[in-house]
């Protein structure tokens, strides 16, 4: 839809007077231009202002529309492609490399602040090469990660955590070759193993996709990875058990998910590698205040909880794995978050409801394409 027409439609729906239009238009068009127009799941020809107008139109009164608009202005969190790329670019230098520096400092017996000495040392270069980066999904953007970090070898960055036996052998062979150059000798068998594994993904809100208890059975991507490094697993020969450190890295994660995963991953990991250390970190943490709350977002939550803006079709087998009926998002995530490529279902339904998928009239501002769609 033509931009001018979309704005006229919005003005008509919101019943704004001239001074209000003059006040809101610069803000809306700036944000649309800066971020919101790049949302990848808009239908062809659709852009943010039109989507906003159509979204607001579904509310029954001008008061409700004002509440919804205020939510968009004040509470919506949209991670643009540029912002995610920035997280990717800083994840290694700002979060992982300092850990390697600290470890090297400890081995060398020097202060961790002696950066130049440490990073020029053989110990650091070895530790850096003995670091394996695995993607937990396409969202890890390891293609971009690799380009932002030319100091890392291509052979230590792999797009998936599900590594075949043949590929695992290839990774180890490459590691051995690079270590030989660093050490100027053949590396010992223990040295030709990865002492740090970084498992990377873009987003988690509940952590349940990564680790959960499903009727007494542990499931999730992290569980799959743990299976692969058990004795007999494809990745087991690559891991240096006596000095292993596993880092689960998200570009964006809620603090709840980080704490939960840190606790639950520990037991599984220590069972396999009793001497291993681990942490779960995020480049950008969504603290508790990011979530919508009954105290601070009463009016908008009333809309979220209203049956008028709910479709029972959202409650499918996947949604059933979490708390609630989906109107507050998967597992009642109560998030106001949108990612440029899709809206997570942990966000409130009013943000991501897709009328085509749900077969309903409820409409999200940033409609989501579901991975968990029922076979058609």
């Amino acid at each position: 839809m033509n931009e001018q027409l979309a704005t006229e439609l919005l003005v008509c729906i919101m019943e704004w007077d001239d001074s209000r239009v003059a006040q809101e238009r610069p803000y809306l068009e700036a944000l649309a231009e800066y971020k919101y127009n790049e949302y990848q799941q808009f239908s062809p020809g659709m852009r943010f202002i039109e989507s906003l107008a159509t979204w607001l139109k579904q509310f029954g009164s001008s008061d409700e529309r004002d509440i919804a608009y205020s939510f968009v202005k004040n509470r919506l969190i949209f991670f643009s492609a540029a912002e995610i790329a920035h997280f990717v670019s800083i994840s290694y230098p700002d979060l992982i490399r300092p850990k390697l520096i600290h470890r090297a400092a400890s081995i060398l017996g020097v202060p961790a602040t002696d950066i130049v000495h440490i990073t020029n040392s053989q110990v650091f270069r070895m530790l850096q090469r003995q670091c394996l980066f695995l993607g937990l999904s396409d969202g890890a953007r390891l293609d971009v990660f690799r380009r932002f970090n030319p100091q890392l070898s291509h052979d230590q960055v792999y797009r998936t955590h599900e590594v075949s036996e043949g590929r695992a052998q290839g990774l180890q062979t490459d590691l051995r070759g690079d270590l030989k150059n660093i050490l100027d000798r053949e590396p010992k068998p223990d040295e030709a193993r990865f002492s740090t594994v970084v498992l990377i993904d873009d987003f988690t809100a509940s952590g349940k996709s990564f680790l959960r208890d499903d009727g007494g059975v542990k499931k999730g991507k992290l569980q799959k990875w743990l299976e692969s490094v058990r004795e007999g697993g494809d990745l087991e020969p690559l891991i240096r058990a006596d000095t292993l450190h596993v880092c689960v890295l998200f570009y964006v994660a809620t603090s709840d998910a980080i704490h939960r995963l840190a606790d639950e991953f520990a037991s599984g990991l220590l069972e396999i590698f009793p001497k291993a250390t681990h942490d779960v970190i995020a480049v950008q943490t969504l603290v508790d205040a990011s979530h919508l709350s009954p105290g601070g977002d009463t009016e908008f939550l009333a809309l979220v909880d209203s049956d008028a803006y709910y479709s029972p079709a959202v409650y499918d087998a996947h949604m059933a794995k979490g708390k609630g009926d989906g109107r507050r998002g998967f597992d009642e995530g109560l998030l106001p978050v949108v990612l440029t490529h899709n809206t997570p279902n942990n966000s409130v339904l009013l943000l991501w409801a897709n009328p085509i998928e749900l077969g309903s009239e409820v409409r999200g501002l940033f409609p989501r394409v579901s991975r968990h769609r029922a076979n058609q």
Binding site: E3, R20, V21, R25, A30
Partner: protein, 630 residues
């Protein structure tokens, strides 16, 4: 270029990357600021407050912009013809080899080096030479053809009768010259990056190499690359004071064949220079203060602004606004503008008639006669006449022998009319600051100021169009917006002005002083007072910094310097009045609405240095307040 929400917010010539966009927004009327000697004669120094249009003016004469204007000759014939008329384009191609060097803040850091002053000077000249040669060779390659030609194909002959300058032997290729300059710049950078600093630095005693940069001395295919070279150095205010003096000295004494244009903000001038009104003109430079030039060329300025507005409006995403100026309503139409204004005028008219007529029988007779002679209460002209007559009645009252002998239908003096309109609008709450003419005046000769005000208006206009309520801005809406902008300008001083609190106090004081005199019931200074006058002798005391100057006067000097350099006040040339010479200090027009002042540059009231100091220290006190104090 993609459509813009509000094209008036697009600022700063140096941020518009595409030359086609830049040229499409450039109004040819701006070229009126160039005098006949612009391409000949002494070096020109263009000065203005920020946003005056200096950089845009220079950029127009760069090869890329001239080629863009040539490409667009069918789309924008006005600009093309204007450039042809001044000789910037000839035979369908650029005739000027424009070399534009924007001075960054990095140059000033050379002056901080802990080395001897003479070495610093030589180092600065070496850096300036290198940068100029790099720009000149690049622009020479760009001016001779629509696409830049390889530097190796340009032949540099060097200055007349000079076979070499330093390491450069002439003739040589432009590539050789470029490489030499790049190496010099790199050498300087390397020296500065060395710790500790080396004992010697690259250095030059002058900008002699500029002589080799004239268009007639650079050939492409055996022909000069252009008819003339214009060396344009932008933002001299970014240089250290000593560097600026060095550059100005060199350009004033060297008499280069190339045209030299320099730009700087008024803030670059020290207090002595900035307050130097009425001094003999500098014969080594031709100084052009852009705001002053536009104030003296009102019609051309207004036309240029209208053109700027039209060009920008075309880029808007709101297609239903074809042009800007026609969308500004110019007259209060009582028959259309019902409600608030009509009720105000009705109640005011009755009030004034009762007030005036009740006190004096003779006055009542005059007013009654006036009201009886074809008076139409909702007609603007009738109201002006009523209010003008009221002023004349007041004037009669204060005479020792008043006669009230003026006919109700006599022609009213234009100054009295002006005062009447002002009084009427203020008393009845009617809009005064409206219409494109007044918006142009409110910009005070500064293009960015115009864009700011027009941008706010355009935002409101677009909002109305998108709401499908109307396609114009009413006089009331314009007036409200202007007053908001005026108030905001005062509120935001602390963000960009040195001595902000004192500057604000003096502006408020000048404004209140003018307001008090303007609104005397008999309007003795019709149409109104818009400035204060200082005796030239007092001004000169302020201008010349002497050891015996008091602290308060030193502060006053700094405050005035700050106010002038940010275009908050205008200073006139000396004017003769009542046997004495006066310097008139006027507010930037955009501040006048804050005090309900007219926009002309007419009447002023005298003030002294002591008054100004008192205003800074204590603020302005009205005559009534002073009487109460006594």
């Amino acid at each position: 270029m993609s459509d813009l929400r509000n094209p008036f917010r697009l600022r700063a010539a140096n941020r518009l990357e595409r030359d086609d966009t830049f040229v499409s927004l450039f109004a040819p009327g701006i070229l009126n600021v160039l005098d006949k000697e612009a391409f000949r004669g002494p070096p020109h120094v263009f000065r203005s407050a920020p946003g005056g249009g200096k950089t845009s003016l220079l950029r127009l004469f760069t090869p890329a912009a001239l080629w863009a204007a040539t490409r667009r000759k069918d789309v924008d014939p006005d600009l093309y013809q204007s450039l042809k008329a001044i000789g910037a384009i000839q035979d369908g191609r650029p005739a000027i080899h424009g070399v534009m060097l924007a001075v960054g803040r990095d140059m000033a850091t050379l002056d901080d080096l802990p080395i001897e002053r003479a070495t610093r000077r030589r180092l600065f000249l070496a850096m300036a030479t290198a940068k100029l040669v790099i720009e000149a060779t690049r622009s020479a390659a760009s001016v001779c053809a629509p696409e830049p030609v390889p530097l190796a194909q340009l032949q540099c002959l060097g200055p007349d009768s000079v076979s070499s300058i330093g390491e450069i032997e002439f003739p040589c290729t432009a590539e050789r010259l470029f490489n030499w300059a790049s190496a010099q710049e790199t050498a300087i950078g390397d020296a500065l990056d060395t710790y500790p600093l080396p004992s010697t630095f690259p250095g030059q005693d002058s900008l002699a190499i500029v002589r080799s940069l004239d268009a007639s001395r650079i050939l492409f295919d055996g022909q000069p690359v252009a008819k003339r070279t214009v060396i344009m150095i932008d933002d001299l205010q970014n240089l250290a004071s000593a560097q600026r003096r060095t550059l100005l000295e060199d350009f004033s004494t060297a008499r280069y064949q190339a045209t030299i244009w320099l730009t700087e903000r008024l803030a670059a001038l020290d207090e002595q220079e900035l307050l130097d009104v009425g001094a003999l003109p500098d014969r080594d430079f031709s100084t052009v203060v852009l705001e002053e030039t536009w104030i003296s060329k009102k019609a051309a300025y207004r036309q240029a602004l209208s053109d700027i507005a039209s060009r920008r409006t075309k880029l808007s995403t709101v297609a239903s606004i074809p042009d800007f100026a026609p969308c500004l309503e110019d007259r209060l139409n009582f028959r259309v503008d019902k409600g608030k204004h009509r009720r105000l005028v009705d109640s005011w008219t009755q009030w004034y008639y009762d007030r005036l007529a009740g006190n004096d029988q003779r006055a009542k007779t005059v007013v009654t006669a006036l009201l009886g002679v074809g008076f139409v209460v909702d007609d603007w002209e009738s109201l002006i006449k009523l209010r003008s007559t009221a002023i004349l009645v007041e004037r009669e009252r204060v005479k020792s022998q008043s006669t009230f002998e003026f006919a109700a239908d006599a022609n009213i003096d234009s100054d009295v009319r002006g005062a009447a309109e002002l009084f009427l609008c203020r008393e009845a709450g009617l809009p005064f600051y409206c219409g494109f003419e007044k918006i142009a005046i409110l910009s005070s000769g500064n293009i960015e100021q115009f864009l700011g005000l027009a941008g706010d208006m355009f935002e409101r206009l677009a909002a109305k169009v998108l709401s499908r309520r109307a396609s114009n801005l009413t006089v009331s809406e314009q007036d409200s917006l202007v007053r908001v902008v005026a108030a905001r300008r005062l509120d935001e001083l602390s963000q960009y002005v040195v001595h902000a609190a004192d500057v604000k106090r003096i502006l408020l004081a000048i404004g209140r002083a003018c307001e008090e005199r303007t609104y005397l019931p008999n309007a003795p200074y019709s149409p109104g007072v818009t400035g204060v006058g200082l005796r030239l002798s007092e001004w000169n005391r302020l201008r010349s910094a002497s050891a015996s100057m008091t602290e308060t006067n030193k502060l006053l000097r700094s405050v005035i310097h700050s106010a002038i350099s940010h275009n908050l006040i205008e200073i006139s040339q000396p004017q003769r009045c009542k046997g004495d010479d006066w310097i008139i200090v006027r507010l930037n027009r955009i501040l006048c609405p804050y005090f309900h002042l007219p926009l002309h540059r007419g009447q002023w009231r005298p003030a002294s240095l002591r008054d100004l100091v008192t205003w800074i220290e204590q603020g302005y006190r009205t005559t009534q307040q002073q009487i109460v104090d006594v």
